[in-house]
């Protein structure tokens, strides 16, 4: 008998998704109501996932769906960030006139897709989750349909993402052909000996996954999509799909391909080094904040991948910690971007921050902390994120990776410093509006305080992730 209780969060989110869609269609002017109800249902979802957090490992649907510590932690991370994303973006949606009922519904459906991805233990189930997530994201990216950049970014994202899905599927078919199964556990048993076809399959799958987390050299879509999408969608892009994609990365590398470490380790090291270095260098010339965030997130994903190359539990845990701190920092940074509003217009160029510190001391202080943290300067949270990664990497004597990573942080420090320079050293401009939505203020406050005082008790995250033992 299948224990449906294990997938109660997924069932709940599907039901609420359909319910909200029906209510939205039949009830006139209900977008505000739907939006709030979506946030409420995300809270219920969080409670349902927490309810399952005691399960160490459980399979359902003929071992194709897995609930374990990793999946639970990542789902919690996803839902909490989704709540914050929704809280920060409501006013933006209203002012840019895209506050429609479809928006929260699409967000929910992509979250459902991510949850399926996170829990998948089977190639087919994984692909299903991936497509559900991606299809919702295509629509979200082009949600501001009267805006040329937004539609362009949606289309671009669709084409490139479909291409990568195709590559991914081709890899799946090779893996299935050589191992005779789509189930992760069975694949790992069946592919113990070396075959060229399998290596090809692994490479294709890694390429597809690298596309999803925008690792170099498969990053080209990210800057355009980040810049073109409505900011509320950019923040979504910058955080949530990365959590799911990183989980899938961990799953693929350490469950089905765990016996093929020699085949994939070099590839992942290359992806990591290339992303760290390229992201740092390419961000230097950017003028648009969202585009800069895109490059910086490419670089950050490089660090997260560095933890995965170590083939130790500490390495995987350090990647997860990195991801958690990264998303808090990004949430904080985007909260600041949402606050750059004057007379109902949003600004997103770096120059618009000029002299911010004179008119908005608190906001600029928050940005100062966030940017130094992104640059990885101690004692802020961003330093610890990088520190755990390097600790794990150096344990395996991978000094080259560590030194390239650290040198990239120095290069990256330059463009973060440039923003600080513009905020603090440059002449002031007009004031921005200060009547922000309470949700936005709360998320900025919470995330900044987290970044600032993380060093007092750095064990808080380590304790949580130390349960996650993959190998």
């Amino acid at each position: 008998m299948i224990d449906l209780n294990l997938i109660s969060p997924e069932i709940f989110i599907s039901l609420s998704l359909m319910f909200l869609l029906i209510v939205g269609v039949y009830k006139k002017n209900s977008s505000n109501f739907i939006y709030n109800l979506t946030i409420l249902s995300l809270f219920v979802l969080l409670a349902l996932i927490l309810n399952l957090s005691h399960i160490e490992e459980a399979f359902i649907f003929d071992q194709s769906y897995k609930i374990d510590d990793l999946s639970t932690f990542m789902k919690i991370l996803t839902v909490i960030s989704a709540i914050f994303v929704m809280l920060t973006s409501s006013k933006y949606l209203k002012l840019t006139k895209i506050f429609k009922i479809e928006y929260p519904v699409l967000v929910l459906s992509s979250i459902l897709g991510m949850m399926v991805m996170i829990s998948s233990n089977d190639l087919i189930v994984f692909y299903m989750g991936l497509e559900l997530q991606s299809l919702s994201l295509y629509v979200l990216a082009s949600f501001n349909r009267d805006n040329l950049l937004s539609t362009e970014s949606g289309l671009k994202y669709f084409i490139l993402s479909a291409l990568s899905s195709g590559i991914l599927l081709y890899g799946f078919s090779l893996i299935y052909g050589f191992s005779g199964s789509t189930n992760f556990n069975e694949i790992s048993i069946n592919i113990s000996d070396f075959q060229y076809g399998l290596t090809f399959g692994i490479v294709f799958i890694l390429v597809g996954l690298a596309f999803k987390i925008s690792a170099v050299p498969f990053h080209m879509w990210a800057p355009d999509v980040y810049q073109g999408s409505p900011t509320s969608v950019t923040i979504f892009f910058a955080i949530l799909p990365k959590i799911a994609a990183l989980t899938v990365f961990i799953r693929f590398l350490y469950v089905p391909f765990v016996n093929m470490i020699d085949q994939w380790q070099m590839i992942v090291i290359f992806l990591s080094i290339a992303s760290m270095a390229f992201g740092a260098v390419a961000a230097i010339g950017q003028k648009n904040l969202k585009r800069l965030v895109a490059y910086s997130s490419i670089s950050h994903m490089g660090y997260a991948l560095a933890g995965l190359t170590t083939v130790t539990n500490e390495g995987i845990q350090s990647s997860i910690i990195y991801m958690s701190i990264y998303l808090v920092m990004n949430l904080a940074l985007f909260s600041c971007i949402f606050m750059m509003r004057r007379n109902e217009n949003y600004f997103e160029n770096i120059d618009d921050l000029s002299g911010l510190s004179k008119n908005h001391p608190i906001l600029s202080f928050a940005m100062l902390i966030i940017l130094f943290s992104l640059a990885g300067i101690p004692p802020l949270a961003g330093f610890f994120a990088k520190f755990y990664i390097f600790k794990a990497v150096i344990e395996q004597s991978m000094y080259f990776l560590a030194i390239v990573g650290l040198l990239s942080t120095v290069i990256a420090a330059f463009y973060y410093l440039r923003i600080i320079k513009i905020i603090y050293f440059d002449p002031e401009k007009e004031k921005y509006d200060t009547d922000h939505h309470i949700g936005l203020k709360i998320s900025l406050l919470l995330s900044t305080v987290f970044i600032l005082i993380y060093f007092i008790y750095p064990n808080s995250l380590i304790d949580l992730v130390s349960k996650i033992n993959i190998i």
Binding site: I377, P378, F387, F390, E395, A402, I403, L407, K421, F455
Partner: protein, 498 residues
């Protein structure tokens, strides 16, 4: 003793900074925030004096040690002082207090933010000198970049942005390798606790690489030739208080790091790299002295002279003799007082004339006699004339060097002559000569607060020049112990390899 006196020293300025940051600023309270900062920094200074008073200078162990679990099983928050570090803490609290007194005249805008930055800087600097764990040390060492970047960038001169970036990126680049080394040490020995590492010792096979990683970081911060170029820029553009902090304390972090970490943790590698250090130090002493001679900007001249003086310090440290290391510590303290005073003195006339070019001055002895007197004291202090603290430091360093290497010591002695040349020439051009520039006639002599600040630096300079006993007594036992352990390690190593 139950009061965690070192943690109080570290935390007090931060608490003050938070208080100032969150109190709303209007014009009335604008001044009061300065009094808060002054009160906090003076309290911290008195606390550090009390620390010195109850410090037991007959034992070499770390005292007032606090050890708290921070990241369980990995890093402990561990602080403590010994004879080497305690003087730097007092120097830090003393100089910070003077900086806060001096801001009144030098900082025109955003005083509140400036005070917050200075107080945070004090926390981080004291932390550097107390921490007995490599990672905690790294946190404090690197954390200092943030406030200093802002101090140079916001309140600096015309090319402040360039200088702030140069300062930040140079030092960051230098330190990242140290982080790799620290993590490697953790994986080799299972701890980052300095005291434990002294006991365990680090495998001699890896010492050279680790030493180099630490060296890059300290060499940038010292700064040693050829990575000293950030210092003149940073000094020239920083506001007076920033230059003072930079010259008096931040440069000392590296000298302290050499003694505590390079000698203490990697004795074999230190022995191996002595020629490198000698070479770089000599180049620093001779070359930067010559460069200093040619400067037209007063602050730049003093900045280059700082590089030369720090060359003496590194030279003394790596003589591995009692006199050399004691002399280096003494020289650092003395340079802390003298260079701070010189930057403040330049600040005094800059504020009146808004130029730092030497050629714009001349003959101001007749207008500002009081100023001429104090500047004379500090000029002589910088030269190392007997009777000033600068003499004791340089003299001890040269004695130590003569013991080890006659040639090096002879060349280094030339540096003393060059120092006399550039400092006295500076003094002559600014103070004596004919009063050509008519604008200078409007200048007024020292104000009360300036007299107070400059004399409170001049008195210890003279006092420790005539009576160096209290400082030497404090550092002696710890240095002896350091050298004994060092020689023991070298002997063990040689015995093993023969």
């Amino acid at each position: 003793m139950n009061i965690p006196i070192l943690s109080s020293l570290i935390l007090l300025p931060t608490i003050g900074a938070f208080f100032i940051f969150f109190v709303k600023s209007n014009n009335k309270r604008y001044q009061s925030s300065k009094y808060v900062a002054l009160f906090i920094s003076l309290a911290n200074f008195l606390l550090s004096l009390y620390l010195w008073f109850i410090f037991d200078n007959t034992v070499s162990e770390f005292q007032f040690v606090e050890n708290r679990e921070w990241i369980p099983g990995f890093v402990n928050y561990k602080v403590g002082v010994d004879g080497i570090s305690i003087l730097f803490i007092i120097l830090t609290t003393f100089i910070t207090s003077l900086c806060i007194i001096s801001v009144n005249s030098t900082i025109k805008n955003r005083l509140k933010d400036f005070l917050v930055a200075i107080l945070l800087m004090e926390t981080l600097m004291i932390g550097v000198f107390c921490s007995l764990d490599l990672l905690v040390f790294y946190l404090f060492f690197e954390g200092g970049l943030i406030p200093m970047f802002l101090i140079i960038g916001i309140w600096g001169g015309e090319r402040r942005v360039y200088s702030a970036f140069k300062f930040f990126l140079y030092t960051l680049l230098g330190s990242v390798l140290m982080l790799v080394a620290i993590i490697s040490i953790y994986w080799m020995t299972g701890t980052t606790d300095v005291e434990k590492l002294y006991e365990i010792g680090i495998d001699t096979k890896y010492q050279n690489l680790l030493w180099l990683a630490f060296f890059t970081s300290f060499a940038v911060k010292t700064p040693m030739w050829p990575v000293h170029t950030w210092l003149p820029d940073a000094h020239v553009e920083a506001p007076t208080a920033g230059s003072v902090l930079l010259a008096a304390i931040i440069l000392k972090m590296a000298g302290y790091g050499f003694i505590r970490f390079s000698l203490g943790l990697f004795p074999v590698a230190s022995e191996y790299f002595i020629p490198l250090i000698y070479l770089l130090s000599l180049v620093a002493i001779i070359y930067t002295s010559l460069v200093a001679l040619m400067q037209e900007d007063m602050k730049k001249l003093i900045a280059y002279s700082s590089v030369a003086h720090m060359g003496f310090v590194t030279l003394g440290i790596f003589t591995m003799t009692q006199q050399g290391i004691e002399g280096s510590i003494f020289q650092m303290i003395s340079h802390g007082l003298v260079s701070a005073a010189l930057f403040l003195s330049v600040g005094v006339i800059y504020e009146r004339m808004h130029t730092r070019l030497i050629s714009r001055y001349g003959g101001i002895v007749s207008i500002m006699p009081k100023y001429a007197v104090v500047l004379m004291i500090f000029t002589l202090g910088a030269i190392g004339l007997p009777g000033t603290s600068g003499f004791i430091g340089e003299f001890l360093i040269l004695i130590g060097t003569f013991k080890k290497n006659f040639l090096v010591a002879t060349i280094a002695s030339l540096g003393v002559i060059l120092a006399a040349a550039y400092m006295l020439w500076l003094y002559k051009r600014v103070i004596f000569g004919k009063l050509i520039n008519n604008d200078l006639k409007k200048m007024v002599d020292l104000k009360k607060s300036e007299i107070f600040i400059l004399w409170s630096l001049a008195i210890p300079t003279l006092l420790f020049g005539f009576y160096p006993e209290p400082l030497i007594n404090t550092i002696e036992v710890s240095v002896t112990n350091l050298i004994d352990t060092y020689n023991l390690n070298i002997e063990i190593y040689l015995a093993k390899n023969n």
